[in-house]
C-alpha cells in the first residue's frame, strides 16, 4: 500500500518476510510469487495485496490500516515448527524486539498505538533447513512451500475470500 496511492486498501494483506539470497530465508518471497501466480484472478480484482520485505519494520504498522485480515509469512528455523504451521497472532504488549526487525505481534501492537486499531492477523511459518548465502531453496523447503500454499488457500477461503486457484 502506498500513502500516495490513495483509495481503499485491499481487504486482505499477505505480508511475507525474507532475503531471497539466503537459501530457505527466501521462503517468504517465493511463497508470494507462487501464490500470486495461483491467485491471479483475485489479485487482479484487487482483493488481496501482496507485500514482501527483508524484515518487519515499524512502518508496516501503517500497511495494516483498513484491512479485514492479515497473513504474515516467514521462514522458520528447523524445529520451531514442523513443516508448516498457521496460528492467530495477538498484538504483543510486552515483547522485546531483538533487532531492527519486529515480530508480527509487535507490528500489530504498534498498529494499535498508531492507528487505534489492528486487524485480525495470522502467522504462517514455513520450516526451512538451509540458510546459506547464494543457495536456492532446499528440497525440504520446496515441499513445505507447497503445503504452505494450500494452507494459505484454506485461510483465504475461511476468511470469505473465494476465488479460482489455478495451479496451487
Amino acid at each position: 500500500m502506498s500513502s500516495l496511492a490513495g483509495g481503499r486498501p485491499a481487504p486482505w494483506l499477505i505480508l511475507a518476510i525474507g532475503n531471497p539470497s539466503r537459501g530457505d530465508d527466501a521462503l517468504g518471497p517465493v511463497f508470494i510469487e507462487r501464490l500470486q501466480r495461483a491467485l491471479t484472478d483475485l489479485a487482479e480484482a484487487g482483493n488481496i495485496e501482496f507485500l514482501t520485505d527483508f524484515q518487519l519494520q515499524v512502518e508496516h504498522a501503517l500497511d495494516l490500516l483498513g484491512r479485514r485480515a492479515v497473513l504474515f509469512v516467514d521462514a522458520a528455523l528447523p524445529g520451531v515448527v514442523s513443516e508448516v504451521a498457521i496460528e492467530a497472532v495477538p498484538a504483543d504488549a510486552g515483547v522485546t524486539p531483538t533487532s531492527h526487525a519486529l515480530r508480527p505481534g509487535a507490528v500489530l501492537n504498534i498498529a494499535m498505538r498508531i492507528n487505534g486499531h489492528a486487524p485480525p492477523a495470522w502467522q504462517l511459518a514455513i520450516e526451512g533447513r538451509e540458510f546459506a548465502l547464494g543457495e536456492g531453496l532446499s528440497s525440504q523447503a520446496e515441499l513445505n512451500l507447497g503445503r504452505a500454499i494450500l494452507m494459505a488457500q484454506r485461510w483465504l477461503r475461511d476468511r470469505g475470500c473465494t476465488g479460482v486457484i489455478r495451479n496451487a
Binding site: 532475503n19 520485505d53 527483508f54 516467514d74 522458520a76 510486552g94 515483547v95 522485546t96 531483538t98
Partner: protein
C-alpha cells in the same frame, strides 16, 4: 587496544548475540586475574562470502544484487555499486536528472534509516533509562508512554521509504539506479505529493534534535563519559569542505581536529586505508596507513561527519551543528545520537530542496556506455564507489573483465570502519560496569547501549522465526562455563544451567 598482553590467563564473559543490532553479534570480555576487564571482543557475523558471491556476475546485475547485503540500508549498496560501475565503465558523469534522482533516493535512505534507529532502537534507552525494565524499553513502550514521539518516528520512516519507493521504483529490491544513470523520473503528482509533506517532516526532524539535546542536558555526565573514546574521524566531504553524503573526497582528522588527509580521491582509498585481520573475528580492522595499525583506527558515521565537515549546507541543520560543537570537539559515544538527528534534519532539508527542482520530472536519464573501441572505455575497467551510508563511509570496488563479468570485488562497509571503536567502547563501558562477579543484566544493557550508538548493521543475518536469542556466558580461564543467561526474542529472561551439571534453568517472564 582490544588485545590483552596475556589472554591465556584471562576469564571470559560472552554475550551472544547482542540484541537490537542488526543480525547476530557476540561480545567476549576477557578478565584478568583480578576480575577486571582487560579485553573486549565484539564478534560480528558480517557479509562474509558476499564478495565471492558476486564474482562472475554481469556488471549490470550488481546494483540490484548488492541490495541483498542488508535489509536496512539496501539503497546505500544500490547507489555505491552504481557509482563504482559507472566509473569502471568510463562514465565520468551521469546526466543531471539522474544525479538528482539518485541524490533524492540517497537522502531518503539517510532520513528513514536514522529515524528507524533513533525512534525504534535508541529512544527507549534514552527515554526510559538503560536499566529500565526490558518489557518497557522498546518501541511499544515508547508508543505507550510517548505516543506522539512514536507516531512521528513511524511517519518519518514511512516518508523516507516513500521517497525510496518513488525513486527506486519499488519498495524493496529497487531497480531505479542503473549503470550510467537512472531508469525513471518522478511524475509531477509524485513530486507534489512528497513536497506537501516536507514542512511537517522538517518540524518533526527539528523536534527530534531538540529531544536529544534536552536529554543530554538533563544528564550531562552520563552523555559525556559513557563509552567515551578519543579517536580520529573519517568521512567524505564536498570539494568545498561542506557536508556531502552522496559524493565527495575523503577527509580524515585527528581527535584534536588536525587534518590527516584531505581532498583525497576515493579511487585511491587503497593507498590511504589498510585492513588488518584478527584470528577471532571475520570482520576486518581498517586503519589509516599514515598512522599505522596501532594508532590508525578511526570512527565513521554521523558523529564523524558532523565534525569532519566545515559546514552543513542547509540552514536548520547547520545551526544545530554549531550549537552541538559550541564547546569544541565531541568524542562522547552517546553523542552519535544527536549527530544522527542533526543529519536527519539535514537530509530532510536536502529532500525539500531537491523536490523543488523540475529536473526530477524530466530530462535525460542515462549517459552512453563506452563500448569496445571507444576512446572513453578504460583500458582496465575498475571503479570505486564511495558513499556516506547512514552508518558511515561505504566503499564498493569492482573490476569488470572483457566479458562484462565482475572479476574483482572489495566491499568495506560502515560497521567495519567502526569495528575497533566498538570494541574499545564496549571495553570502556564494561570496565566501569562489571562488578567482578557475574554478568548482570545491567552490564548487558550498558554494553548493548554502547554498541547501539554506532548503529552497526550485522547484515548477513537471516531473520527466520526462532532466531536471535541473546546469550550471556561466563567462562573461566580454564574454559569452563560458569554462568549463562539468555534473553529470548520474546523478552523472557532465562538463566541457563551452568557448568554445574545439576543446575536447573530458571525462567522469568518479562
Amino acid at each position: 587496544m582490544e588485545t590483552a598482553a596475556n589472554p591465556n590467563g584471562l576469564r571470559r564473559v560472552a554475550i551472544d548475540p547482542v540484541s537490537r543490532v542488526e543480525g547476530h553479534g557476540k561480545v567476549t570480555l576477557l578478565l584478568d586475574e583480578h576480575n577486571r576487564v582487560q579485553q573486549a571482543r565484539l564478534h560480528i557475523v558480517e557479509f562474509r562470502g558476499f564478495e565471492a558471491f558476486i564474482i562472475g556476475r554481469p556488471y549490470w546485475e550488481i546494483p540490484v544484487m548488492v541490495q541483498r547485503l542488508c535489509g536496512i540500508c539496501p539503497v546505500s549498496h544500490h547507489l555505491a555499486a552504481s557509482k563504482a560501475i559507472d566509473i569502471a565503465l568510463g562514465i565520468d558523469q551521469v546526466p543531471r536528472t539522474a544525479e538528482l534522482m539518485r541524490r533524492l533516493m540517497h537522502y531518503g535512505q539517510i532520513m528513514q534509516s536514522h529515524a528507524l534507529h533513533f525512534f525504534h532502537l535508541c529512544s527507549p534507552d534514552l527515554l526510559f533509562g538503560f536499566d529500565s525494565e526490558v518489557a518497557r524499553r522498546n518501541i511499544m513502550g515508547v508508543a505507550q508512554a510517548y505516543p506522539d514521539i512514536a507516531r512521528q518516528g513511524v511517519l518519518l520512516r514511512k516518508f523516507g521509504q516513500e521517497v525510496i519507493r518513488l525513486t527506486a521504483g519499488k519498495r524493496i529490491h529497487g531497480t531505479g539506479s542503473i549503470p550510467g544513470g537512472m531508469n525513471r523520473h518522478l511524475t509531477p503528482a509524485e513530486r507534489d505529493e512528497l513536497a506537501t509533506q516536507v514542512p511537517q517532516m522538517l518540524d518533526w526532524c527539528s523536534a527530534a534534535v531538540e529531544l536529544v539535546a534536552s536529554l543530554e542536558a538533563q544528564n550531562k555526565s552520563l552523555y559525556e563519559n559513557f563509552g567515551r573514546l578519543n579517536t580520529s574521524w573519517m568521512s567524505i566531504v564536498g570539494t568545498d569542505g561542506a557536508m556531502e553524503l552522496y559524493d565527495g573526497v575523503l577527509r580524515a582528522r585527528t581527535a584534536e581536529g588536525e587534518t590527516l588527509l584531505d581532498g583525497a580521491d576515493a579511487q585511491d582509498y587503497h593507498d590511504l586505508i589498510e585492513e588488518r585481520t584478527q584470528s577471532w573475528t571475520y570482520l576486518k580492522f581498517p586503519y589509516l596507513r599514515s598512522l599505522g595499525p596501532e594508532a590508525g583506527s578511526y570512527r565513521v558515521g554521523p558523529l564523524a561527519r558532523v565534525q569532519n565537515c566545515d559546514v552543513i549546507p542547509s540552514q536548520r541543520a547547520e545551526l544545530e551543528r554549531q550549537r552541538f560543537l559550541a564547546h569544541g570537539p565531541v568524542h562522547a559515544t552517546l553523542s552519535y545520537h544527536r549527530a544522527r538527528m542533526i543529519e536527519m534534519l539535514h537530509a530532510m532539508e536536502v529532500i525539500g530542496e531537491l523536490l523543488g527542482d523540475d529536473a526530477l520530472i524530466g530530462g535525460e536519464l542515462t549517459a552512453p556506455i563506452p563500448g569496445p573501441g571507444s576512446p572513453d572505455r578504460p583500458a582496465r575497467r575498475r571503479g570505486v564507489g564511495i558513499i556516506e551510508a547512514p552508518r558511515g563511509t561505504l566503499i564498493h570496488d569492482y573490476a569488470i573483465d572483457d566479458d562484462d563479468l565482475i572479476s574483482e570485488c572489495n566491499l568495506i562497509v560502515s560497521t567495519t570502519h567502526n569495528n575497533q571503536a566498538m570494541n574499545d567502547s564496549v571495553r570502556a563501558v564494561a570496565r566501569d560496569a562489571f562488578d567482578g562477579r557475574e554478568v548482570s543484566e545491567g552490564l548487558l544493557n550498558q554494553i548493548e547501549v554502547a554498541i547501539r550508538a554506532y548503529d552497526p548493521c550485522l547484515s548477513c543475518a537471516t531473520h527466520a522465526l526462532g532466531s536471535m536469542p541473546m546469550e550471556v556466558n561466563l567462562v573461566d580461564a580454564g574454559g569452563v562455563l560458569q554462568d549463562s543467561v539468555v534473553r529470548h526474542g520474546d523478552g523472557s529472561f532465562e538463566r541457563m544451567p551452568s557448568a554445574n551439571p545439576v543446575g536447573v534453568a530458571e525462567r522469568v517472564n518479562p
